[in-house]
Amino acid sequence: MSLRRGERAIEALLFLCALASVGTTAGIIVVLAVETFAFFGEVSIVEFLTGTEWTPLFATKHFGVLPLLLGTTVVSVIALVVAVPTGLLSAIYLSEYAPERVRRVVKPVLEILAGVPTVVYGYFALTFVTPLLQQWLPGLSGFNALSPGIVMGLMILPLVSSLSEDAMRAVPRGLREGAYALGATRMQTALQVVVPAAFSGITAAVILAASRAIGETMIVAIAAGQQPRFTANPFVPIETMTAYIVQVSLGDTPQGTLEYRTIFAVGMLLFLMTFALNLLSSWLRARFREEYN
């Protein structure tokens, strides 16, 4: 079958559009890889992965990424501690308890939270949540991991609740009826039958949220401080991997120097972490879909 010339042109155009995003991704990976490779020509990979001091911008340079990694971990864990229980409970409410009218209003409102620009969350953390927390926690610094962690938890909450709710609603009604028919209450049905049946979907939601928290930049750049510290203490200023990349990008570090290349090494690590989590998440979701076809 032969296509007319116009159709061929359209097909070519569509192909180029598709290629653009794939090409961009490939380009990012190549740039990251090239610069990272150059970085590890000068700095030992062992020092990078095991060192506990991160001072590439100082006279005495140390390239241990662990303080940044720990900073990212502390903030992300706080965010998940806020988002996972709240998100799951609201998903259970929306999927198992809420009347259809309530669900139709609450779910979109919750999803609006996801549309708020992160810079707004950042200043919300710095100028509202931190002062509020300081009233109860006098030892809390103006910049800290706790406040941006909590606010980031609020930001990823809709992601957790919305995706978990989708997973729970995909559980066949027959399973719920099977539980009710054995004398299960609504709560028992929700917690013991629906949640386990939706487990892989819920896990996928949580992992996606974790990946989002790890990659989140603006909130931590604004409210967490810029002091790479090897500490799990959430009350003092720290620096995350993303915040460090912002710091260098906004500064006057000359291109091609070792300091400049640090952001690519950190960026590569960040990319690998979120990429692995996203892969895990989509693998879990695919498995979930298979179970109930």
Binding site: R176, G178, A181, L182, A184
Partner: protein
């Protein structure tokens, strides 16, 4: 009437003989009076009254959408979970009003077990599927007692020999017929008095269907069974009583052999002989 061309297994041929008219000695287990059921504004059941006898198999037949499944689900209040559903009239089980104000739906459903059209094992192990009802209702005191009840239920559902060596594997790995018998075992584990079966064999092949039918025959010694079926041969084979539903009404109800050989209503005769529906 249409006759079954398949040869009946020995246990089942006796079922058909059991339908000869004799005075009913079994007490009334479920007494339904003037029951109406509404989905929103739509009336799905219209003034149903019938008495279902203990230790008998009662079959509900009728075309799709005639209300037979809806009626079955009013007997254990399974329709309660449907938004906009409403019931009036009365359902009395062992002399107690199932829709009374002080009734605990959970204990009602413990007394009135249910098996569904599509087998619905939980995504848990075979053992845990059967143990689930025992756990949530705190029916056993020790692990040993739990294991005993699980085995007893699996034996009663005629599936023990097939699964005894893999009790801790996922129930989802079983075949369709095995899953359905597992669901029957799950329903039996909490020792209900009444077992409601909503087209339990409609998704199964003839061999699996025959096993379910034999099981129904065995189970009626201990349980009152109400079975919805779209298969008239099945109704004739397994049931003592048959109720014919049409457009939300109960058209005719009586001994299965009479319904199939000498129906009082023209509509029933047309349906059981395959002239309509």
């Amino acid at each position: 009437m249409t006759t079954d061309v398949r040869p009946l297994p020995p246990t089942l041929s006796s079922v058909v003989r059991a339908g000869t008219p004799v005075a009913e000695t079994a007490p009334v287990k479920i007494d339904v009076r003037n029951l109406n059921f509404y989905y929103g504004q739509k009336r799905a059941l219209d003034g149903i009254s019938m008495a279902i006898h203990a230790n008998r198999v009662t079959a509900f037949i009728g075309p799709s959408g005639c209300g037979k499944s809806t009626f079955l689900r009013t007997l254990n209040r399974m329709n309660d979970i449907i938004p906009g559903a409403r019931v009036d009239g009365s359902v009395t089980i062992d002399g107690h009003d199932a829709y009374g104000s002080g009734v605990d739906v959970v204990s009602l459903r413990r007394q009135v077990g249910m098996v569904f059209q599509k087998s619905n094992p939980f995504p848990k192990s075979i053992f845990e599927n059967v143990a689930y009802g025992l756990r949530i209702n705190n029916l056993t005191r020790s692990k040993a007692e739990m294991a005993e009840r699980v085995e007893e239920s699996l034996r009663a559902a005629a599936i023990w020999d097939e699964v005894k060596d893999r009790l801790h594997e996922s129930a989802l790995a079983l075949s369709g017929g095995q899953q359905q018998r597992l669901c029957i075992a799950r329903a039996l584990a909490i020792r209900p008095d009444i077992l409601l079966m909503d087209e339990p064999a409609s998704a199964l092949d003839p061999i699996a269907t025959q096993r379910i039918e034999e099981l129904v025959y065995d189970l009626k010694k201990a349980y009152t069974i109400v079975i919805v079926t779209h298969n008239m041969q099945q109704a004739a084979r397994v049931s003592d009583y048959t109720a014919f539903f049409w457009l939300g009404r109960l058209v005719e109800y009586g001994r299965t052999d009479r319904i199939f050989t000498a129906p009082a209503e023209k509509l029933t005769e047309d349906y059981v002989t395959g002239r309509c529906g």
